[in-house]
């Protein structure tokens, strides 16, 4: 019984370390898009994620406040432009998040395979 408990803790415990800022689906989308490009403006990011202006804006504020996203506001002629890019910290956090999720998925697969064999 104690052994079983220890096994399940092994699988579930790493989930406690998961970065909750990135784990939220909308923010995960934003981080993923910004991870694969060097930089993008607000309009491009909105099109790629399918989020509304307000939603995207509030998630970007959150990501900026934890230092994952760098926001540069400038003017092109008379039009305002918001350029966004992942900070070094944001890039590292996203890589760690992906690694943890991948490890968790592997452990879950192993556990499920073990269950079906029994």
């Amino acid at each position: 019984m104690a052994k079983k408990k220890a096994d399940s803790d092994d699988i579930i415990e790493p989930l406690g370390d998961i970065d909750k800022v990135i784990h939220e689906p909308a923010r995960l989308m934003i981080m993923s898009v910004l991870y694969v490009v060097e930089s993008a403006d607000f309009v491009f990011l909105r099109n790629q994620t399918g989020l509304t202006n307000g939603n995207l804006s509030s998630h970007l504020n959150k990501l900026e406040s934890v230092g994952y996203v760098e926001v540069e506001k400038k003017f092109k002629g008379k039009k305002p432009q918001t350029i966004l890019k992942l900070s070094v910290q944001g890039r590292e956090a996203f890589e760690v998040y992906r690694k943890k999720m991948e490890d968790y998925r592997k452990k879950m697969d192993q556990a499920l395979t073990g269950l079906s064999e029994k």
Binding site: E38, A40, F44, Q48, I83, R98, M101
Partner: protein, 211 residues
């Protein structure tokens, strides 16, 4: 699982969105169309001087370029947004620039070659020349550009444009000038322009400014 994002396909999807506006298709289609139309215009206007006959091609090509540049600036960017891609894409673009430069030099050499005595003694079949020019001067560079740009529709256009060049030679004994160039290039260019317009309209519907 939302966490299991395939980053490669996400990057490709983001990158390929820059071709959704159909402006590349319109540009290429209009250039090919100009090849057929300029011969036709020169013929009906009786412009025998080579330099004057170039004028319609030049005007049409400048129009194509203007549509492309102004379309990107005033239609695509406000709707699609601005993006800079990573080092891999940048390196591919550098390679493309190098290839285009080498191809430009090669074309200069090929243009000068007939004026020298180097190839005067060699006789080629006109159909063979058309096939080599169609494949080598049009299809091959288009295919290379399609590869470096990751623009899949360009592979089809490469084949169509090369075929048009070859067909113009095949059709000449049957329909004479200017139909020999008007038909293949007009049809090929026209088809590409229609595809471009279809993508352009779909783009305008998908990316609404009122968002």
């Amino acid at each position: 699982m939302a966490e299991n994002v395939d980053l490669k396909s996400l990057e490709r999807k983001a990158y390929r969105s820059i071709f959704e506006d159909g402006l590349w298709d319109l540009f290429i289609g209009l250039i090919i169309l100009s090849l057929g139309l300029s011969t036709f215009l020169s013929s009906i206007l009786n412009w025998s001087d080579l330099w004057i006959s170039i004028i319609p091609t030049l005007i049409l090509n400048i129009n194509a370029l203007l549509i492309f540049i102004l379309g990107k600036k005033f239609i695509t960017i406000p709707r699609l947004g601005i993006v800079k891609f990573g080092p891999k894409r940048k390196s591919k673009q550098q390679k493309l620039k190098l290839f285009l430069f080498a191809f430009f030099i090669l074309n200069i050499v090929l243009l000068i070659l007939p004026f020298t005595n180097l190839i005067n003694s060699i006789r080629f079949e006109p159909l063979f020349i058309a096939l080599i020019l169609g494949l080598g001067a049009i299809t091959l560079p288009f295919v290379v550009v399609a590869y470096f740009l990751d623009f899949t529709r360009l592979y089809i256009y490469a084949f169509l444009a090369g075929l048009g060049f070859f067909l113009s030679e095949v059709l000449y004994p049957f329909v004479g000038s200017p139909l020999d160039t008007l038909l293949p290039f007009g049809i090929t260019g026209g088809v590409i322009v229609v595809i471009g317009l279809y993508h352009f309209i779909s783009f305008l519907k998908k990316y609404n400014l009122s968002k």
